[in-house]
């Protein structure tokens, strides 16, 4: 069962590409039988009562940490989610309590002090109060608890170009503890800028992915060669961030990715709400994870073809 996730990923991507459906339909279109097409339709949807949305995390890096509070909106709303100001936001690790301040110029963004950092092994508790989302005149309180797992530093990464998929594949060499059940998230930076910048571009795996705790060049992240970030120059630095995450956050990321993949009756079941970890009916996620980094330098003359 070591690499089930890997297989599922490969199969999932094939299914995502809908290559079989496309091929069948291509054949039908080829002979002029199907006009399988898409078309915009008017759809009247109900709107659910608005709810608080929490988006924030604690990592083991000492830095200013941010947390965003907003409200849910109707599905077809043509504007950004309204932010929630004036809340009291506290993060506690059971020993110290950090009080977050709201940014003056960006309402809804709350920040910690610059020397705030999490410690692996501790559990971080979030408390949000002094907000009235349902506008009933009574203040509500929301809480969340997130344990901060540890992560081991990766040894190295390599990069390969895959013609079939037209992607740059990032391959990881690392070791981890095979005794424990661990979950990882991978994100990419190019020259210090995060390029996996939405949840759909995060890559999450369980350690079943590792062979007895060893990763010997496994494919963990990709850069689309068709995008701007897929064009490299001499000296570009590609950095892989490896995060130790909880199973709960792993499930959350997977669910978001599944929901935003598109619904086709051949392969999808009924859509479902993404599971969060905030109390009192609030949406979103408060996560805690530890991070480590490994980089490589791009050289123009080097052979990046598949080995």
């Amino acid at each position: 069962m070591k690499n089930l996730d890997k297989i599922l990923k490969v199969v999932g991507e094939k299914i995502n590409k809908n290559s079989f459906i496309n091929q069948t339909l291509t054949l039908f279109v080829f002979i002029g039988l199907a006009s399988g097409c898409t078309e915009t339709i008017e759809l009247e949807l109900e709107t659910a009562a608005k709810r608080l949305v929490v988006d924030g995390n604690v990592t083991n890096e000492q830095k200013m940490h941010f947390l965003r509070l907003s409200e849910s909106v109707s599905f077809f709303s043509d504007s950004a989610s309204p932010t929630v100001s004036g809340a009291q936001v506290l993060i506690s690790d059971g020993i110290n309590v950090e009080r977050l301040s709201e940014a003056q110029d960006i309402p809804g963004i709350y920040y910690t002090s610059e020397n705030f950092g999490g410690v692996p092994g501790r559990t971080y508790s979030l408390s949000v109060s002094n907000v009235d989302i349902d506008e009933d005149g009574e203040m509500e309180e929301y809480t969340s608890h997130a344990p901060l797992p540890d992560v081991s530093a990766p040894d190295s990464i390599t990069m390969e170009f895959d013609e079939g998929w037209n992607v740059w594949k990032i391959l990881l060499y690392a070791r981890e503890n095979p005794e424990t059940e661990d979950y990882y998230m991978f994100r990419l930076f190019k020259n210090g800028t995060l390029i996996s910048n939405t949840i759909s571009e995060y890559s999450v795996v369980s350690d079943k992915f590792f062979d007895e705790g060893n990763a010997n060049g496994i494919w963990v992240q990709s850069i689309d060669a068709g995008q701007e970030s897929g064009e490299f120059e001499e000296g570009d630095v590609i950095t892989l961030q490896m995060c130790g995450i909880t199973e709960e956050y792993f499930d959350f990321v997977q669910a978001v990715q599944q929901e935003n993949r598109g619904q086709y009756p051949l392969f999808s079941g009924p859509p479902a709400n993404v599971p969060g970890n905030i109390s009192n009916g609030a949406l979103g996620f408060f996560s805690a994870f530890s991070v480590s980094y490994v980089s490589l330098l791009y050289h123009e003359g080097e052979d990046y073809s598949e080995k």
């Binding site: 079989f20 091929q23 949807l45 709303s77 910048n197 619904q263 086709y264």
Partner: protein
């Protein structure tokens, strides 16, 4: 194995006591038995009526064309009839065996027969929700791309609809598609789709007739909650050699049949293959040129009349689909093999013994062989033995009893790398073995000329046998323990009684009423929460964690004929309760998951509604109009926060209209129109943003609906003078863009401009096919 042994003992006791009584206790009067055949090709006629003239008493032939009838003392005249055939009368004054050959009225009329329940003999059989169709009437229904398909034909019947646009898969009374038992010559077909389900594996050229039981099953059938589709293949012409060849837009077909020994043995070979991939090399795009996409299938049947008492049948099916492009390859298919022996023990005791093997397997792999490539194979095999006895004790009393045992062997999946240095370690989900037995007994009693009673009882047994693995789950569905079982160890057994009962009352010769109750149990199900069929099926059985699904259904119906039998009207009301029905948690992992059972969230379901149907049948003009009202709901404690939700197949209103009009002896036109309420779906009712990504907030499960579905199809059939036949058809004549899927997209990269977008598969689809008979 104790249960298994007990059943054999019980069964053998029943068998000997009944057979000895059948032999030794001949009632007074004469017994006539035998077969009713088509005079033209010797094909057995199923459901032909045998009536004692002037008494209103009689019987119908069984699925092998056999009947047995006890006559009152003295001289009697027997009338043999079958819709579209000339009636035949025979004077009988002693016990004898007969073989009756009925002449088709005229060949052209015989081809457009739509056989109804109103056929006098069959309406006397107290089974509700039974629909029959002859292959000749199936071929009159206009279909997608002109590919005649029995599964598409039954979707036109009340209570039955397609699971999604263009699919040959169907749902009965709001049930899941895996609750339909699909039988081809008694072999269970586990995946009936070709080309992603747009066409079915049933080749109409090889089919004699189909029967669909919508929940009120005879005691001999079991194992599924919603329906039994019994497909019987033709035996092959006993009189002379004949064949047909056809070509359509999708496939070309060839059917050959004829006597091996005249009136003694015959064969039938029927095959299809799509041929469009032959044109792929002409494509401009190089990627398309190397693609592969085709399916083929073949039916073979041999039957031999070994004497007055014995008849043997050997039939097989083999089909395969293949898709291949530069990235991946997928192929899958069914194969079945059936051996049957009909033996007439005595004039009033008919028996059938069957040995059946059926299998389904698929392969998914990457096209090239390098270290990242892998292949995934999965296989499902069934071995079945069945014995079935019909004892025609007196004209008023018929007993049917027997046994069926199936060994299921499921290999859910083996995934392995194709290269020595593969990055993949092998994933091998353990093989799953189980046994499913049913013994059954049913008694049909004509209590008076106006009342027939049917009482049946089925005792089903399901056993998981080792080698196997069973998981113990805690309340959070986390595995807390794994138990391994050794080979042959029966580690779990479920048993249950399945009573079936029905009563028919004849108010007058034109009006009858029927009422029935049935309980069914289902021990094997599909791990799928999608409304479309995919080739990557995973069937999983009941086990210590998964209880058998149970359904109880009561129905009440009225049947009326008018205008001397031209019109048949029926009204049927049903109510169905189901326990332990299978559903899955949100975002389940159903693929290659060894602990799949941890994803199941069982609940209860119910369905209620009524079906109205009017059929008419004159020489020139025939058709039917059906309407179904349905409400089908489910509830499971851990789904939708425990609140009831609609079945994804809850089509509140469902109309279907079929008409066939004969313009001349050579030209006929057909049309059908279907309409149903859009399927319940889960839709977003809000949106929120986390880490730069929009996340939809959903309604309760299946709380919204897709737009209503409707479509009109037309076809014209022209019989050529020299035995050829042209069929022109148009699918979706007015080009309704019925949505297959609804997705939400950002327009022009504007993050806050979200639009709903529907994907539709087929607008107007014209097609043409030609069949040559020789």
């Amino acid at each position: 194995m104790i249960y298994f042994r007990n059943i054999h003992v019980f069964f053998l006791c029943c068998f000997f006591s009944l057979t000895s009584r059948a032999d030794g206790n001949v009632p007074p009067g004469n017994t006539v038995n035998g077969y009713v055949k088509d005079a033209r090709n010797g094909e057995m006629l199923v459901g032909a009526t045998v009536a004692i003239k002037g008494t209103g008493q009689g019987t119908v032939t069984n699925v092998y064309g056999f009947f047995s009838l006890d006559l009152p003392v003295g001289e009697n005249v027997l009338q043999f009839g079958f819709l579209g055939y000339n009636t035949f009368e025979l004077e009988v004054n002693n016990s004898r065996r007969v073989t009756i050959e009925l002449q088709p009225k005229t060949q052209t009329i015989a081809e457009v027969v739509v056989k109804g329940e109103g056929n006098e003999g069959s309406s006397r059989f107290p089974l509700l929700g039974l629909e029959k169709m002859e292959s000749s009437s199936i071929s009159n229904i206009p279909v997608l791309m002109g590919e005649t398909d029995p599964m598409k034909a039954i979707q036109m019947l009340p209570g039955v609809s397609a699971t999604s646009e263009g699919s040959s898969n169907f749902t009965v009374r709001g049930g899941n598609p895996d609750q339909n038992l699909l039988l081809m010559d008694e072999a269970i077909v586990y995946n009936a789709g070709h080309l992603l389900g747009f066409f079915s594996v049933f080749n109409n050229d090889a089919i004699k007739n189909i029967q669909l039981y919508k929940g009120d099953f005879p005691a001999s059938e079991g194992g599924r909650l919603s329906s039994v589709l019994d497909v019987r293949t033709r035996d092959g012409n006993m009189k002379y050699f004949e064949g047909s060849a056809g070509i359509g837009l999708i496939s070309s077909r060839l059917n050959l049949e004829g006597p091996i020994s005249k009136d003694k043995a015959s064969f039938l070979v029927s095959g299809r293959r799509t041929y469009l991939d032959l044109f792929l090399p002409l494509a401009e795009d190089e990627e398309i040129r190397n693609n592969k996409l085709y399916f083929y299938d073949a039916n073979v049947k041999i039957n031999w009349i070994a004497g007055d008492k014995d008849r043997f049948f050997l039939s097989g099916y083999m089909g395969r689909d293949l898709f291949k492009d530069e990235l991946a390859q997928l192929d899958f298919g069914n194969n079945t093999f059936t051996f049957r022996w009909n033996h007439v023990f005595s004039p009033s005791l008919f028996s059938n013994f069957s040995f059946v093997r059926s299998g389904y397997d698929y392969f998914l792999g990457t096209s090239e062989k390098d270290i990242e490539d892998m292949e995934w194979v999965s296989e499902f095999n069934d071995y079945m033995f069945g014995a079935d006895f019909s004892w025609f004790i007196t004209p008023e009393h018929t007993l049917r009893y027997g046994l069926r045992s199936i060994y299921h062997r499921i290999d859910p999946g083996v995934v392995s790398g194709m290269d020595e240095n593969s990055l993949f370690q092998e994933v091998d989900l353990p093989r799953n073995n189980s046994l499913e037995h049913g013994i059954y007994f049913s008694h049909t009693a004509e209590l008076s000329p106006w009342m027939i009673l049917r009482m049946g009882l089925r005792y089903s047994v399901f056993q998981n046998i080792g080698p196997g693995k069973s998981f113990v789950f805690d309340e959070y569905y986390e595995v807390t323990d794994t138990v391994e079982y050794s080979k042959g160890n029966v580690y779990n057994t479920y048993v249950g009684l399945e009573p079936r009962a029905g009563i028919s009352i004849f108010f007058n010769p034109r009006l009858s009423g029927k009422m029935s109750y049935s309980r069914t149990r289902q021990y094997i199900q599909l791990a799928s929460n999608s409304t479309s069929s995919t080739p990557l099926d995973v069937w999983f059985p009941s086990s210590p964690n998964i209880k058998p699904q149970i359904a109880d259904q009561v129905s009440l119906g009225f049947f009326k004929t008018s205008r001397n039998g031209v019109f048949e009207h029926s009204l049927e009301v049903f109510n169905k309760w189901m326990q332990n029905t299978i559903d899955f948690k949100d975002h389940p992992n159903l693929i290659l998951n060894e602990t799949l059972e941890g994803e199941v969230r069982a609940g209860t379901s119910w369905a209620r509604g009524f079906e109205i149907m009017t059929r008419w049948n004159t020489i020139r003009f025939k058709g039917w109009l059906g309407y179904t009202f349905l409400k089908s709901e489910r509830v499971a404690p851990e789904i939708n926060e425990g609140r009831p939700f609609l079945s994804p197949y809850d089509h509140t209103h469902d109309f279907s209209l079929f008409m066939n009009y004969r313009l001349s002896t050579r030209v006929s036109v057909s049309g059908n129109w279907v309409y149903y309420t859009g399927a319940p779906v889960t839709m977003p009712v809000g949106r929120y943003e986390v880490d730069g990504e929009f996340i939809p907030l959903y309604s309760e499960r299946n709380a919204e609906r897709m737009p209503d579905y409707h479509r009109l199809d037309l076809s014209m059939t022209i019989d050529g003078k020299r035995g050829g036949q042209w069929v022109f058809s148009i699918y979706n004549v007015y080009g309704r863009k019925n949505p297959w899927a609804i997705n939400f997209v950002n327009e022009d990269g504007e993050p806050y401009n979200i639009k709903a977008e529907k994907t539709y598969l087929f607008s107007i689809v014209p097609s043409i096919s030609y069949t040559l008979e020789f």
